[in-house]
């Protein structure tokens, strides 16, 4: 079996530095999960459609399954584990909780990061804007209705 040469990569995830050795072909998603031990970032398709692996890179929502770890040096990465402040939930998490915005919870981290990334840059979205943005990711359980409600509520909380 061929053992590919590993390279050294420094990642900044949720404000913490991770020094890891990975094969150049290793995706950011796999690296976050396996080498940083942050398994809240999920893999639903590994071809960039479902969005379960969405993380923020310098504030932008990105599909971490479509990036390599070696491309991610120097980026400020944020994952679902970085949202809450200790025991205090981030407004987006609080809103998902209150509005039953999740069922099985597998797509949730991706939706949370997508929504946070979007709302931080666009604090006053219309319903149409939100629908279009949330259509980036797939959820199989909720039918999106309560996710829409939750993100709408979070937008209000995050503005205030």
């Amino acid at each position: 079996m061929t053992q590919r040469e590993k390279v050294h990569v420094t990642l900044d995830v949720n404000g913490r530095t991770y020094d890891v050795r990975v094969e150049p072909r290793k995706t950011l998603a796999d690296t976050i999960r396996e080498d940083c031990g942050l398994t809240g970032t999920h893999l639903g398709c590994e071809h960039g459609v479902c969005g379960a692996c969405t993380v923020l890179a310098d504030g932008q929502p990105v599909r971490s399954c479509l990036m390599f770890a070696v491309q991610s040096e120097g980026l400020a990465l944020r994952t679902v584990e970085g949202l809450a402040d200790g025991d205090t939930l981030h407004p987006i998490q609080q809103a998902f909780w209150e509005n039953h915005g999740l069922q099985c919870g597998f797509c949730t981290p991706g939706f949370l990061m997508l929504a946070v990334g979007y709302l931080e840059q666009n604090p006053n979205p219309t319903e149409e804007d939100l629908r279009e943005v949330l259509a980036s990711n797939l959820c199989r359980c909720t039918g999106y209705q309560n996710i829409m409600k939750a993100v709408t509520q979070a937008a209000v909380t995050m503005r205030s």
């Binding site: 999960r33 398994t39 590994e46 809450a84 998490q93 919870g105 597998f106 949330l134 039918g143 999106y144």
Partner: protein, 758 residues
């Protein structure tokens, strides 16, 4: 939500990684398997004595077929596991698979029902003559006379495309071998851990007590994770063979290719009506493509047999002749998916009603009102007893909400402006919470149905309910804690629901078939009643009062009408630590067990879809979707609505978007989310839900199941709405999904016919 969930893949970090070598051809003979020395590989030869899996129904019209755990001589579908390789990492295992060469002599495959049933067609399994694995018939008396006496006959054929349940988390497992005890703990993404334990222990030849099966967080199942995955059996076998912890994490492509499909059906329906539009008899020929093998435990008979028994739905007719066939083909095996056959049989009956409404010139509400069952209990033509429901009530309420007459005005105006809008109704019953009597009627070798709950209050007054159901996103834990809290006067936060672990819970059947709140919830309530009695007996002694005068509320046992009370947690302490002082006849501790095995109960609903069809592109936009749902007593309305939203969304997907496609050579074409199209937030409208609550005495909690209903009713509502929109063009739609391509084909064919005629 905070990244603290634990799904199978999150628990695989220290494990060796398995990857399956899968068949690239739909049908053929394996001539050889070659791999370099450096690759650790196991093939069917290594698994001598393991399997085959041969799910059984005790019916003479069912043909059991055997599925090897790894294909040994013949492969029967693209994606069938042939061998498994082991790597230190997932990437290494994937590299190793690339180095394995399988020499296969291909045969012409059987793809689709038509080809399978041709005279002289190649057999997928030698034992299944004519490729038929189930050929069931049922007939009441007087069908021919009813058809002879009919004033109107309506005949049509419907087709449902093959769907994948497509849970967002694909399947997977981690088998942990314990060197000291030799036990294996299998963490796997499944809906029914006990059933998985039984079949894996049987297949690999170990005792069930040597295998612990745990379902950690499960990222959706919808039926696909109820039937056992062949790969999970292999994972346990390899862990025992290597005495190591091994994992198998399915990727999306494998999930589309090799994980159960469903609903590849074709039905021919004839309805006999009298001059008033009353349906008197139905004749049905129901054919289901069940794929290459039979699924365990429910078998390949599940779709055709459910279609046969439940086709009449909520409609009142007693003359019924039906033939239901399961056809085997060189495609991925079928298993139940949310609603099983009912989305398709509901489409059949609801198309029948709409076609009758046009034939008789009666509106779609009136034709249904004349035919729906209205007196309870009602015994159907197939002998199923319906408990009380609101079939006509939900229809009338839905018609009022959407204002049918008002909509017709809107529709007329829109048509004048060249727009094609339409409305579609769908009334249906959802048989839920059924126990062994219903499953036993299918003559299943493995007959699911009952649920047991062990309820324990510990010395600190905290409660643990150990349940055999295995929720994975349905919010059952929340609903059940609420129900138990009410019974025991205890804050739901002090109640833990333990599920999904065969070491910790009584044998049960898991979560499927809209059953958990009804059956497991019922058993929990019965156990709570027993535990309550124990608490009251101790409280009576403590408070020197009669048990009948004591209530359990807000953490206290109180004598009604007085301020005399004692903390429930103190009673718990007494039950364990002062058992010598307990009332005569009491045992130490606080423990109750109950089992519930009901006959079942019917939820019902009416769905209404309003659509806009662009006839230039064939694109359908859903403008409005209304649900009037009756699931009896609602324990937690927020959770109930969440189930309806999700299920309706999957039903809309069934009607418009999702289809697993094979080419004529048996290659699966839809192996990514670029080819198979689950809807996004952009396609799904706000779903307006209204509840009716018919309280039936068929369940101990008063609750009826509702997990599948949305998926059952929505397709027919959407397809009827499209047909209504296209009525000026005279195009009935009888096939789903109604993709833009398919609709354009229908529209073009009509235009050609019109042009030819002029």
């Amino acid at each position: 939500m905070e990244g603290k969930g634990r799904f199978v893949a999150d628990l695989a970090n220290q494990a060796l990684c398995l990857k399956f070598v899968r068949s690239p051809v739909p049908h053929g003979r394996i001539l050889g398997i070659e791999s370099p020395e450096s690759v650790t590989i196991f093939t069917g030869r290594d698994l001598e004595g393991v399997g085959p899996l041969r799910p059984v129904l005790h019916r003479s019209d069912y043909v059991p077929v055997a599925q090897p755990i790894l294909a040994r001589d013949v492969v029967r579908f693209v994606g069938e596991p042939i061998a498994v390789v082991v790597g230190e990492t997932q990437a290494q295992a994937e590299d190793a698979v690339e180095q394995v060469f399988v020499d296969i002599e291909p045969f012409d495959p059987i793809v689709g029902i038509g080809q399978a049933l041709e005279d002289g067609a190649r057999l997928v399994h030698r034992e299944a003559d004519g490729n038929v694995v189930l050929d069931a018939r049922y007939e009441t008396e007087g069908v021919d006379q009813a058809f002879a006496a009919a004033d109107e006959l309506i005949e049509f054929t419907i087709r449902s495309g093959r769907q994948s349940a497509m849970p967002l988390e694909a399947r997977g497992s981690v088998a942990d071998y314990d060197l000291r005890s030799g036990r294996v703990t299998l963490l796997c993404s499944v809906q029914g851990p006990h059933v998985v334990r039984t079949i894996i222990a049987d297949m690999v030849g170990m005792s069930e007590s040597d295998l612990r099966v745990v379902a950690p967080d499960v990222g959706g199942g919808f039926g696909q994770k109820y039937c056992v995955a062949i790969e999970d059996i292999v994972t346990v076998w390899v862990a025992r063979r290597l005495r190591r912890t091994v994992s198998w994490i399915e990727d999306r492509r494998e999930n589309f290719m090799s994980s159960f499909h469903s609903r590849d059906h074709e039905y021919r329906i004839s309805g006999a009506f009298d001059s008033e539009g009353k349906l008197s008899a139905v004749e049905a020929d129901l054919i289901c493509d069940v794929g290459a093998y039979s699924c365990y435990p429910v078998t390949s008979g599940v779709e055709p047999l459910m279609a046969m028994a439940d086709l009449p739905g909520p409609y009142d007719f007693q003359k019924y002749r039906v033939r239901a066939r399961g056809i085997t083909t060189n495609t991925c095996p079928m298993a139940p998916y949310r609603g099983v056959s009912r989305p398709v049989i509901t489409l059949a009956m609801e198309r029948l009603m709409d076609l009758a409404s046009i034939r008789f010139g009666i509106d779609p509400v009136e034709i249904r009102r004349r035919n729906l069952i209205a007196h309870f209990p009602y015994k159907s033509a197939t002998g199923i007893t319906f408990d009380e429901g609101s079939y006509v009530g939900s229809l009338e309420k839905a018609a009022e909400i959407v204002d049918l007459d008002g909509f017709r005005e809107v529709q007329r105006t829109a048509r004048q402006g060249g727009r094609h809008v339409g409305i579609g109704f769908s009334v249906f019953s959802e048989r839920t919470g059924y126990g062994t009597p219903a499953f036993g009627a299918r003559s299943m070798d493995v007959t699911p149905g009952y649920e047991t709950v062990d309820l324990v209050m510990d010395p600190s007054g905290y409660v643990e309910a150990r349940i055999g159901a295995s929720p994975h996103g349905q919010g059952l834990g929340t609903s059940m804690a609420q129900l138990l809290g009410d019974e025991l006067g205890t804050n739901p936060e002090k109640i833990r629901i333990v599920h999904g672990d065969t070491d910790r819970t009584p044998y049960g059947w898991g979560t499927f078939a809209s059953r958990s709140m009804v059956i497991s919830g019922g058993a929990a309530k019965m156990a709570a009643t027993k535990l309550r009695k124990q608490l009251l007996a101790i409280a009576a002694q403590e408070l020197e009062a009669s048990p009948e005068d004591i209530i359990l509320e807000s953490g206290f046992a109180s004598v009604v009408g007085t301020d005399v009370k004692v903390e429930i947690s103190k009673l718990a302490r007494l039950a364990y630590h002062a058992s010598h002082k307990l009332p005569a006849g009491s045992s130490p501790g606080l423990l109750a067990q109950s089992t519930y095995d009901p006959a079942g109960t019917f939820s019902n609903a009416c769905h209404v879809a309003v659509v806009d069809v662009d006839i230039e592109t064939g694109l359908v936009q859903i403008e409005r979707f209304v649900v009037v749902e009756d699931a009896g007593l609602l324990i937690n309305p927020l959770i109930a609505d969440g189930q309806v939203h999700g299920a309706v969304t999957q039903g809309i997907a069934n009607a418009l978007y999702e289809e697993v496609v094979y080419d004529s050579d048996g290659n699966i074409l839809t192996t990514s989310l670029l080819d198979y199209l689950p809807p996004t937030a952009a396609e799904i409208p706000n779903i307006e839900i209204h509840h009716l609550e018919t309280i039936s005495d068929a369940t101990v909690t008063g609750a009826k199941g509702l997990g599948e209903g949305g998926a059952i009713g929505a397709p027919a509502a959407v397809i009827n709405a499209i047909s209504d929109a296209l009525r000026p063009l005279g195009i009935p739609v009888n096939e789903m999904p109604a993709t833009p391509n398919r609709l354009r084909e229908l529209i073009r064919a009509t235009e050609r016919a019109t042009n030819d005629a002029t």
